[in-house]
């Protein structure tokens, strides 16, 4: 008789009956989390970074390894490296040191994490995710922990602990939802960011992050698109726009002397449905006659360095100011992107503003309306929904929202612009002006309490689909609610990762709902000068009620 | 009773007497319980618990007047303005009842009422003129079935079991005024203002407490005088005055349950009325009209 391969993990019949019939709840007899070893499961983590990714950025210890292997091929002195890195970061980040010290484990954050909600894995509670690091902090950096050990909640940094770190640090999308509810503002995202820096000291990145940073560093964008391909791609959009609207837009690239540099995540240029949003930008700029240029060098808004380390983030981000300075633009316009805007809002000025010294950059002013963007005075970068909302407010766009009448739209507040910036009203204002049917999701799922798409912070790979689906479940559930209640069939968002992750999530949980960027809807609603009669939208889909007129 | 309690304390070894033992006591041979008692120092069984289990703590003084049911008989025909004034004055003085001019804030324990208000059921137009105008002395009726007691949320007002007097425990009154609403005779007054301000220091009776702002008060049938073997102040004053005037006593106080008492005889020989008997509170003040 053929044997069943062991890796199948087929349960025995006895095991099966056990699964169904559980005894009464044990009260306090369960094993403590410190003694529950991590079990790395497929579908719940991303593949390890390929060694070649580490070359351009000189990331340490590139090697061929896999999380499922017993041996992670760590350097011999890995403990010293991690502990030294830990200490170094304790001295450099007050956030980190403070967050290691003051948590009282009140549990306010426990059920706020979308991964915990969707999976029920207790180690996905933000407090416990942070405790994974805190326990090691206590053991190695506090007297009480050194003396009392597990009594003080301290434990040694062992290989199992490191694996546990890695597994759960890459199950956090750094969305900061827990931080909103924490009485001390402990930001688990901050802890995850630093924890991931530590894993990177040992070359333990995931490929979905390592590849984009590597590509971005060399080619300017995550996809590794070389300049000519980038231009080709946009040209392709130009043709499609002409096809659908009858108007030929003329974008320019790397053009010196332009007034505005436009930077958007490359996801918008190369992945559906972001591409339609990119076409939306093109239409908008053309219609306004904006003196704007795209750059192939700074062709990426997103910054996976945020998910890798501070230094990498800075290296990738520097291209924005460097390019703005080289081209002599007055200010930068940023496309719809999530973590790009967290970096721009919270890190860019601090990290790289010195690069812009001596450039022609000045406080952004909309050339169309004359509005000064005072809130971008220092960083000199304006969010495109701020820009468009201002245009609409000043009636500078000819809009026919009824062209979007077949859409019933809801808006997904992307984590980063929400809790790292506070961009709530601008996108809603734009949506409400370009379509007639807008329904917000319930209040505990939007704005500062918004749920993550489940694939943020570099976790939008294909191999961790189960993780993404679990994490996205609360979001999908809320969309399903408005879908059933209001017939919502379009989920708008202002984040390229959302546009990559949410379609999969919707396909699984709410198949009737599609995903769009806001500027796709803006462009669809715009009455263009010299346009032909519109029968299709930017996706080439026929507009209901208009197809016959042709 | 008190002696028993002391014994209990000693036997259980829970008194603190041992702690305070003087050197002389130390010299004496002490029993094991007292020794333990001493060693335990601050660790005694809480006095609060004793308090809980050992009410009452004292005993009734020997000279006290006692009865099963105190009643008062008022002979309306014998009362004149002078008697009313004297009774009111003495009552209010010894009980530190403030004299407040503002009728809204007025406090009264005993007062003069019109016949038609005092006995509304017995009133008609053609009643004896003299009766109509006669001063009519009223006070708390110390009802057998007091509505005020039933409504009090803190049991601040209560009926004394052994003699039927309805009393107020000012320590407990929270000023909710349910009792005032419940009392059909308007016998209760609420201290809207601090009463001490309205009692001249030289007129204070230092042996009787005043009240504070925010409590209800009323006639107590001079419970504090009964304890000392004295009859209520108004009765005493009235009887003296009546004697001077050569009248029968207008106020008589006594035990209704005692067949030989003066009140029983009066009630047998006279036709008496009580205020609002139809309400079923069963008042203990009787009027001879």
């Amino acid at each position: 008789m053929a044997k069943i391969p062991e890796s199948w993990n087929v349960p025995t019949p006895e095991g099966l009956t056990k699964e169904v019939d559980h005894g009464p709840l044990s009260l306090g007899l369960e094993k403590g989390w410190m003694r529950t070893p991590v079990e790395i499961k497929p579908g719940m983590h991303c593949y390890a970074a390929l060694p070649k990714r580490s070359v351009a950025l000189d990331m340490p210890y590139p090697r061929d390894w896999s999380a499922m292997d017993e041996d992670w091929k760590l350097p011999r002195n890995w403990r010293e490296i991690v502990l030294e890195g830990f200490k170094d970061r304790l001295d450099r980040f007050r956030t980190f040191k403070l967050f290691m010290d003051i948590c009282v484990r009140c549990g306010a954050c426990a059920d706020k994490c979308h991964y915990f909600i969707g999976s029920g894995d207790p180690k996905n509670m933000p407090v416990l995710r942070a405790e994974l690091l805190r326990s090691v902090y206590r053991k190695h950096f506090t007297t009480a922990g050194k003396l009392l050990g597990p009594i003080a909640g301290a434990r040694d940094l062992t290989l199992d602990v490191l694996k546990e770190w890695w597994y759960y640090l890459y199950q956090c999308s750094e969305c900061r939802r827990c931080s909103v509810f924490c009485p001390y503002g402990i930001d688990t995202a901050e802890i995850t960011i630093i924890g991931r820096e530590l894993t990177n000291l040992l070359g333990l990145n995931i490929d979905w992050i390592a590849a984009p940073i590597d590509f971005c560093y060399r080619t300017g964008n995550h996809m590794g698109i070389q300049p000519h391909a980038y231009v080709d791609m946009i040209d392709f959009f130009v043709d499609e726009i002409e096809n659908y609207t009858g108007v030929r837009v003329e974008p320019s690239f790397n053009r010196k002397g332009a007034e505005i540099l436009f930077i958007t995540p490359s996801g918008d240029v190369f992945g559906d449905p972001g591409t339609y949003t990119a076409m939306g930008y093109l239409v908008l700029f053309h219609e306004l006659g904006l003196d704007v240029t795209w750059s192939t060098y700074a062709s990426e808004g997103g910054n996976f360095g945020l998910f890798t380390s501070n230094e990498v983030m800075k290296r990738l981000n520097s291209k924005m100011y460097a390019e703005a300075k080289r081209l002599g633009v007055k200010w930068i316009l940023g496309g719809e992107c999530g973590h790009m805007w967290r970096v721009v809002n919270q890190y860019m000025g601090t990290m790289n503003l010195d690069i812009a010294e001596g450039s022609k950059m000045e406080e952004p002013v909309s050339p169309i309306t004359g509005t000064k963007f005072e809130n971008a005075k220092s960083t000199k970068m304006v969010h495109i929904t701020e820009f468009t909302a201002d245009l609409i407010r000043h009636n500078k766009l000819k809009l026919d929202p009824s062209r979007n009448d077949h859409l019933k739209v809801t808006f997904h507040d992307s984590c980063n612009p929400s809790r790292g910036m506070g961009l709530f009203e601008e996108p809603r204002y734009v949506i409400k002006n370009v379509c007639n049917h807008f329904y917000d999701m319930p209040a505990s799922c939007i704005r500062e309490q918004t749920y993550c798409c489940g694939g943020g912070s570099g976790l939008n790979a294909g191999e961790d689909m189960e993780l993404r689906m679990r994490g996205g479940l609360p979001r999908a559930n809320a969309v399903k609610y408005v879908h059933e209640k209001n017939g919502v069939n379009m989920l708008a968002c202002i984040c390229a990762i959302d546009r990559a992750v949410l379609p999969n999530l919707m396909e699984y949980f709410v198949p009737e709902c599609d995903v769009t960027g806001i500027h796709e809807m803006v462009a669809n609603a715009m009455i263009l000068e010299g346009e032909k009669e519109k029968t299709v939208n930017l996706r080439g889909e026929p507009l209901p009620g208009r197809e016959e007129s042709e | 009773m008190g002696v028993n309690r002391r014994k209990f304390l000693k036997i259980a070894g829970i008194t603190t007497v041992g702690v305070a033992a003087t050197p002389a006591a130390n010299a004496l041979a002490i029993g094991p319980i007292e020794w333990l008692d001493k060693k335990l120092g601050g660790f005694t069984i809480p006095e609060t618990l004793l308090h809980f289990f050992h009410k009452p703590a004292g005993h009734t003084p020997g000279e006290a007047l006692t009865a099963k049911r105190w009643v008062m008989v008022v002979n309306v025909r014998q009362i004149d303005e002078e008697i009313v004034e004297a009774c009111t004055e003495v009552c209010h003085r010894i009980h530190n009842v403030p004299h407040i001019k503002n009728p809204k804030h007025e406090i009264k324990w005993i007062w003069d009422e019109h016949y038609k208000h005092a006995l509304p059921g017995q009133h008609h137009e053609h009643i004896d003129e003299a009766l109509k105008k006669a001063p009519f002395l009223v006070m708390c009726n110390h009802c057998q079935n007091p509505a005020c007691v039933r409504v009090c949320p803190t049991k601040a007002t209560f009926k004394r079991k052994h003699d039927g007097i309805v009393l107020m425990d000012m320590h407990r009154c929270i000023g909710c005024r349910f009792c005032m609403a419940a009392c059909p005779f308007g016998a209760r007054s609420f201290n809207w203002v601090d009463p001490r301000r309205f009692i001249k220091e030289e007129e204070q009776n230092r042996e009787f407490p005043t009240r504070t702002k925010g409590v209800v008060e009323k006639c107590n049938f001079c419970a504090e005088r009964l304890a000392k073997g004295q009859i209520p102040a108004c009765v005493e004053t009235c009887q003296e005055l009546c004697k001077e005037k050569g009248r029968e006593p207008a106020l008589v106080f006594g035990d209704l349950e005692d067949p030989d008492s003066e009140v029983r005889q009066l009630l047998q020989s006279h036709y008496t009325l009580r205020r609002k008997p139809e309400l079923g509170t069963n008042p203990n003040v009787y009027y001879i009209v």
Binding site: D58, G118, D121, M233, A461, E463 | -
Partner: protein, 190 residues
Amino acid sequence: MSLKNLLLQKRSPIVKKWCDVVLRTYPEQSQSFLKKKDPFGNPVGCTIAEAIESIYDELLQGTESDNIPLFFDSIMRVRAIQDFSPSQAVGFVFGLKKVIRKELGSEILKEGISEEWAAFESRIDGLALLCFDIYSKCRQKIFDIRVHQVKNQSHRLLKMAGLAYDLPEDYESPGYEGDLKEGQVNKHES
């Protein structure tokens, strides 16, 4: 009394216990959370509770309703992406038998309706098979999405084949001569 009436009578304890059977397949630490009645804060628990109740009601209706697959779908869609082996994911259906036996065992014997019960049991078995079908479809969907994602991401690029940038085979970092294993192609490429 017929089995149906008994089942109706004991509806709420049976539904509650069946729900508990499902919830007990989750880690103990999250069970109390899963019982919270907050459809947005606790979508998993609420979906399960709602669907279990509806399935039970439909089951009592007797007629093979079209709705049962829908309710199972809402549960299985969640469980298919969670940490369960297929047997664990589907096993809760059989739990209903055990729950009913515990609640009504003696009554079934007393009333002499064991034949009716046997028929009901085989209906539950049927439900389990249905549930397994749905589970498989959900898993299939996940794999479809996975494939779709890879296709979708490169679909524009494929239109202009050959333009994607990748490392040259012989690329070597100037300062670093580590044990790079070139040519090792991962299953995944962004």
